[in-house]
């Protein structure tokens, strides 16, 4: 087997120094670290200094590809050497490299003015987001009216499909997370209550915090991550594959067929999931209280109605429905803004999840302030 390592050997002729190129001068061979460093030294020695070579002989090469030729051409200072012995094929490759070796037009650096302008663009971008959101909500209202006028022609098949994917398939994960949070909370609270000997109050604390706050918010955050992202990805891919344009050309209202069923499905599924998560969390908290503090499930259940007013349940369910609508709207909004390339799809999905979770927590805070007199 011939030695494929790219290398230069020197030949001392009476009148001139000659460099014999050997091995395979191809990208794959050149990129081997061991070969590359030695070759780099040999090339530099051959091109400048006392031992500069006058005559280059390429005929002994096993292979010369464009990367190898580029390396040579750059080493030669982008001009033909005084004497070159090369086969016609090698010469053709070198000539092509010589012809196409040009300076790359540089990226223009951004000036201060442009930075200022890009700040302005970002502000306008936020405004555009708000406008888009507003338009989406307006369209949703119109579509709802249309649905109320002709309920039989509603997108019910889409609705039931989304209900299944968003709601039913999320049951196991929300139950698991809720249960574990309930257990964790019960353990933490029990430590503190034991200090004061106020063990029975665990029912009040767990009941109120889980039913009023944690259940709905936890479910909403899980669904925002799970279904908000999938809504954005679905609509975003439809955008990338021009399906949205096709719908428009076919005269099918995208708000009515894409946004409305998703919003309806989430508005219905979210309260149900919230109740389900709360139940799982209560179960976890109840079992943990029994184990840690000896508060029996029977006592827990009998005390709960007195500890937590029923209006808390109404509040939680109503809040969840709002969360559901918001998650769906944010998901659709970012999905419809996706530009037809994969990078934009990724950015849109991330932005959608982050925004919807933020919006959920923000709106929850608003609810907490507005309804501070209800059920407490």
């Amino acid at each position: 087997m011939e030695d494929a390592r790219p290398r230069i050997s020197r030949q001392q002729l009476p009148l001139e120094r000659c460099a014999l190129l050997q091995g395979q001068w191809t990208a794959a061979m050149l990129a081997q670290a061991s070969a590359w460093e030695g070759l780099q030294r040999e090339l530099q020695a051959a091109c400048r200094g006392e031992a500069q070579v006058q005559r280059w002989d390429l005929r002994g090469l096993l292979r010369l590809d464009h990367t190898g030729a580029q390396l040579l051409w750059n080493a030669w200072g982008r001009q033909w050497p005084a004497q070159l012995e090369a086969l016609p094929g090698q010469r053709a490759v070198l000539e092509r490299v010589a012809r196409f070796s040009v300076a790359l037009p540089s990226f223009r650096r951004r000036s201060a003015g442009q930075l200022f302008q890009s700040l302005g663009r970002q502000v306008l971008g936020v405004v555009a987001h708000l406008q888009g959101m507003l338009r989406l909500i307006g369209q949703l209202l119109l579509d709802t009216l249309r649905l109320l006028r002709h309920p039989k022609r509603g997108p019910w098949r889409d609705f039931s499909g989304h209900l299944y994917h968003i709601g039913a398939t999320a049951l196991p994960i929300t139950a698991l997370v809720g249960f574990l949070i309930g257990v964790v909370l019960a353990y933490l609270i029990s430590q503190q209550l034991k200090l004061f000997g106020a063990d029975p109050f665990i029912v009040n604390i767990l009941g109120l915090s889980l039913i009023r706050e944690l259940g709905p918010v936890l479910a909403a955050i899980l669904i925002a991550g799970r279904s908000g992202s999938s809504i954005t990805a679905q609509i975003g891919v439809m955008r990338v594959t021009e399906e949205i344009d096709a719908m428009r050309v076919l005269g099918i209202a995208r708000g009515y067929r894409l946004v409305l069923p998703r919003v309806m499905a989430l508005a219905l599924a979210m309260p149900l999931l919230s109740v389900w998560t709360t139940l799982a969390a209560m179960l976890g908290g109840m079992l943990a209280s029994d184990i840690v503090m000896g508060v029996t499930p029977a006592y827990f259940i009998s005390t709960l109605p007195n500890a937590v007013e029923a209006s808390n349940l109404t509040l939680a369910v109503g809040k969840s429905a709002v969360f559901g609508v918001l998650i769906a709207l944010v998901g659709c909004h970012y999905g419809l803004r996706v530009k037809p390339n994969t990078e934009s799809l990724g950015q849109g999905t991330t932005a959608s999840v982050v925004t919807s979770i933020t919006v959920v927590i923000l709106v929850d805070a608003v609810f907490a302030v507005v309804f501070k007199d209800v059920g407490l």
Binding site: A28, T67, R96, S101, L104, P105, F107, K339, N341
Partner: protein, 264 residues
Amino acid sequence: MSSGKPVVEIDNLASVFRTAGQEFVVHKNLNLRIDAGELLSIVGGSGSGKTVLLRQILGLETPRAGRITVLGRPAVQLSDDGAASRVGMLFQHGALFSAFSVLDNIAFPLRELGTLPEALVRDAALVKLQMVGLDVAQAHKMPADLSGGMVKRVALARALIMDPPLLLLDEPTAGLDPDSADALCDLLRSLHRELGLTVVMVTHDLDTLFELSTRVAVLADQKVIVSGAPREVMGFAHPFIRDFFLGERGQRAVALLHQPPIAV
């Protein structure tokens, strides 16, 4: 490369697709041999498994049975390290990385080697960019801003970045306007000649087929029913060949082939 050894050798290939519990035989006892320096076109009806065959040559899909040897190695090993120096593939829709600029797309395989200095990588990518007939000014554009013909050219430049001896093309002219398709054909022909590439392409476009191919392999009845120069293949008696070459579109392409080129 020694001329006697085939670049691609396919022996008794069998592939089966399974959809909804039903098995659908795509290839059965398929044999094909592609020699160095050939420009082979694979033609066949829809669903005759042309693209599947191309993907199997690339090692992207594993056949049910049979052996595929590419450049003396089993096809499944083709995508190991340094694959770009063995084979180039032009995907039907270009498959450019949309997060990278044109130049970064072309330079990607070279840069991934990790050893070569950035300046050399950039120069090499610029050479390939211009070799496929694009202007240096396009180097910083993003794939989303390119036209269909330009996407194919960039994808071709990327496939050729490490000068692989074998180039595979999936419908190179599909979706291009006649001008761009002609330009791409000219480009492919000159690259084939200058670089001594072995080219395998799947095409429906008869003009491209007659213009470029040194050999045509016809896929029908789950195997290669005939392969040879375009004219020889046309003479073979088989319903698919009659419909494909001697249909109205085929006649037109053949008629053009017989006409002397317009004097310049």
